[in-house]
Symmetry: C2
Subunit: 395 residues, 2 copies
């Protein structure tokens, strides 16, 4: 669907911006519920993404990984064995994660990115009805098997999209789903629920077949990480899903894990998932047992958390924008000056090479929203300078 642009004053896209807007809208339409990749944008004349604020990954952590990668693959021997040979099977990989996430390896299912785990869990464990708070990460709305009823729990703008557990439980009582999903911190807003609140919630959700908690952004929450993966032993209906793409900045490796009852791990492995992680993915899992790597990663993580807080403070001062508080590494930003998210996205793209996530396709978001990733200090400052030139006078 090509969108028509009714522009609120004083914004008027230039002819170039208008063309880019049309082409971008068409591209987005073809990409389903995920934004087109920067590579796909290369097809639009006049656009060159130099600052990708769409992609969510700790850039400091990527650098740590690259340093180890360069060092460890200096010789062809190591590289050859990673490329040519089959990686270890799922159970052997789970063993490598056992100490890192402090749960028994029998409870760990290693995945080819969190998306594979979401797909596996939804298609094997959801029975008839799943309740998903919205806005959310769209695969949770898309990957349930045929015949499953999807019920949405609207998170309220007035609550800054924080989960209201009372309202959530009321809908659980009313709708009687067998499965519920909670993303913590949530995507796209970064809203966070404390583990103590979650624990109380789990106590009241014991009768459900499955409670899915997606912790993919948990490393950004603060100085300490409070994962609830170990709750699986107490609440056997709990499934904790974790991407490793974001916190470690390695989306290209496709890596994640799920923590769930050992019976569920066995059920999944009986259906396949034999060699689902690549050799480079396994190399990364090996790094997680190395003290030197973990020490450097810790610094990269804390740097990202500190930068997220700084970026929030400065973004919040820009008039005409509402920045929702986030403990993830991105911000949901509402345009309150009357401009549209689509126009702002195109303007940032054309004038500054900045690519943000335009959120008009996010189910459950009413208003004009973009999602902006937190990058390095330098990149974030570049973004701030660009946005400060537009707001409040020009947009």
């Amino acid at each position: 669907m090509l969108q028509c642009y009714i522009l609120p004053m004083p914004i008027r896209l230039t002819p170039l911006e208008k063309r880019v807007a049309r082409e971008f809208a068409a591209l987005k339409e073809r990409s389903g519920s995920h934004s087109p990749s920067p590579a796909m944008l290369k097809g639009i004349k006049g656009v060159s993404v130099t600052h990708d604020f769409c992609y969510l990954g700790n850039p400091y952590a990527t650098e740590v990984f690259l340093k180890y990668f360069r060092r460890d693959f200096k010789d062809d021997g190591e590289l050859r064995s990673i490329v040519a040979y089959y990686p270890s099977q799922n159970r052997a990989l789970a063993k490598k994660l056992e100490r890192v996430i402090a749960v028994p390896s029998e409870q760990i299912f290693v995945g080819n990115g969190a998306t594979e785990i979401i797909q596996a869990v939804l298609s094997h464990f959801v029975q008839q009805k799943v309740l998903v708070p919205i806005p959310t990460f769209s695969p949770y709305l898309e990957f349930a098997k045929e015949g499953v009823q999807l019920v949405r729990h609207q998170l309220q703008k007035a609550d800054e999209f924080r989960l209201n557990t009372d309202a959530f439980l009321a809908q659980v009582r009313k709708e009687r789903p067998d499965t519920v999903v909670i993303i913590n911190p949530n995507n796209p807003d970064g809203g966070y629920i404390n583990p103590s609140v979650l624990r109380r919630l789990f106590g009241k959700l014991k009768h459900l077949a499955t409670v899915i908690v997606d912790e993919s952004f948990i490393h950004f929450t603060g100085k300490r990480i409070h994962s609830i993966a170990h709750f699986v032993s107490t609440y056997p209906n709990l499934v904790v899903i974790k991407s490793l793409s974001k916190d470690f900045g390695i989306a290209g490796l496709r890596l994640g894990y799920g923590v769930m009852s050992k019976e569920r791990v066995s059920t999944l492995l009986a259906r396949g998932y034999l060699w689902n992680v690549s050799g480079f993915g396994e190399y990364f899992l090996n790094l997680l047992s190395r003290k030197d790597f973990l020490k450097e990663y810790k610094r990269a993580r804390e740097r990202a958390v500190g930068e997220r807080d700084r970026f929030f403070r400065l973004l919040s001062r820009v008039q005409g924008l509402k920045v929702y508080p986030s403990l993830a590494n991105s911000f949901l930003i509402e345009i309150q000056s009357g401009g549209s998210a689509a126009d702002l996205t195109v303007r940032l793209l054309v004038r500054h090479g900045i690519y943000v996530r335009e959120c008009s396709d996010k189910v459950g978001l009413k208003g004009e929203f973009i999602r902006v990733a937190c990058r390095t200090t330098e990149e974030n400052s570049f973004f701030l300078a660009a946005i400060q030139r537009l707001f409040p006078q020009q947009f």
Copy 2:
């Protein structure tokens, strides 16, 4: 299950070999229907795999890939973008394969290794009953969804495990499966069926819901490659599965594809498989459009085919062994001197660091069999020297 060894004369394992045999048997038991990886064998004291004849991949092709990898990732920029960012989605990857395999991209499903495709196809398209010739690649016996009846079609040793299409069709008529599986060339024996024979067979299998043909070893068949992927347009019930691990020697990247009706591709993509190929996998798919790479690969492929034929000639001369003719890059070898496959495997491992695939767990193989991969000329000569010292006098 620990196996007891009743040794035919004149073989008597040494105490070291006996211990290794016990530990290897235990390890194999834990690995299910796939052989333990060389890395897993490191746990056995006194064993060091220096020559892996278990793994099936063209070693010459691996070297071509490594050369390009080194060249293309000299700078951090390229490497960073592969590691940090999300790879392209499935449909965009399919587009990259369109010209390479000469079928429309809408008919291509790109997979995280052929294993993922086997898993996806078996769980989505098999209805109630599947007929699988044995011996076979074990996932075809394992990954059907619950409730599916598995019927085995025994390939005959007297036919050198070649598919007898009349016998196969007779069993189809008798058993009325909705799905049949054909691996061509077959694993573990390398038996090959001509495309013209297959086409006649497809004509008689039109009433089935699904005909799966696994072509993972097709690049080893000879000077020219006769893929049947394009038959999907004529026979919409056909699904052609192809691993890229073997022919290109890149098992660690996890890459394969399936060719099937576009409706089936859409069905699978509606269930997930969004970012199922890693950034390095996508890099490889990009290589497949480069003339220089294809030219070098062609040489590597022809070299492997030539070496396979040479290895066969020399192996066939060893008394006490029967080597089954193969158009794949491995040989099914029967020990006819009275020794056991398990003992031979252990002896090759302990004395020569050679690791072969012991086939006692292969369903449908009666007798003492090992499967030996075809490696480089040098490695194959090393293997020949080792086996010639054992046969016929010592084993």
